[in-house]
Amino acid sequence: MEWQMNCEDYQQLVSKLLDNSLEKGKTADVFRHLGECDECRAFFGTSMHLRHAMQSAPPMQATESVDREVLGFTHSQPRVVSRVAGIRSSSTRMDRKASSVERSGIREQIRVFALVLITVIVSGLIWTRTLPKQREEGVDLTREALQSEMTIHQR
């Protein structure tokens, strides 16, 4: 007997969908259910409102006293041991306002790259297949040219 999901189950999937963490193959089913169920659609709507409200809150800033303590400690150290170069390069890739589109951006880039690679390989295969024919045609043209020259000389 197939297990039937209830609205609580679907709403848990909606929550994962909002965070781009839904398992593959379940998205269509979730959207189908959202089209049919007012309660789950309402949960989706309020979760989006909640996200918007949270992300619209003004950012909070630490006071200068924190700077004095931390940077004062830093300068007091004779040798600050760090792997800062690696952290800096990885931290530049971090973006506070990364959207779910950006989160899936890397996956999308990999898909595009794979598509381009396949296209190049296929084009290359087609080109190499036509090469012998072109060579033969080229040889034939050369032979024709030689023959016509010989004919001219014979004349």
Partner: protein, 165 residues
């Protein structure tokens, strides 16, 4: 590769200090405690940077340290029962208290009333856009526990937010 680079650390500190502070403040709701936690976090980062094997996981590591500092403060301030109690709310205030004109203000007030273990996962997923796996690593919870807490927090907040939409 280890480098003697206090200026570069200062740059990283400048980049992340407000985010760490905001996270600490939203968890503690206490400005001095949040400042202490932020200071201790970055001092510990400096002292323990050798333990970081993968620079790509710096953000998760940083928030793990910040979380530990916050929870140390919370333990000192009060005893806090965690697992076993399914209730999402830490305190129970009448709905009528929330005369917030803006949804943003209302949501911020509601967030303060969530239990820390629910609040922290929501902060990390909404403000820091962290993956469930990273949140699980930071909080020491299982993946399913993180999923469950985020869902329950959204459900509870949505229920209170709904009349104002």
């Amino acid at each position: 590769m280890l480098q003697n680079d206090s200026e570069a650390f200062a740059e990283i500190y400048t980049r992340f200090k407000h985010r760490v502070y905001e996270y600490c403040f939203r968890l503690t709701q206490d400005r001095p405690a949040a400042e202490d936690a932020t200071q201790n976090t970055f001092i510990k980062i400096q002292l323990n940077l050798r333990e970081l094997r993968n620079p790509g996981s710096f953000k998760a590591w940083m928030f793990t340290i910040a979380r530990n500092e916050v929870y140390a403060h919370l333990r000192r301030a009060r005893s806090n029962g965690l697992e076993g109690n399914e209730d999402v709310w830490e305190s129970d205030s009448p709905h009528e208290e929330f005369v917030a004109q803006e949804q943003v203000e209302l949501v911020q007030r509601l967030l303060t009333q969530l239990k820390p273990e629910y609040r922290e996962v929501l902060l990390l997923v909404e403000y820091e856009q962290m993956s469930y796996a990273d949140i699980a690593a930071i909080t020491g919870a299982t993946l399913s526990s993180v999923e469950s807490r985020i869902f329950k927090a959204r459900k509870a907040l949505g229920k209170k937010l709904k009349p104002f939409l």
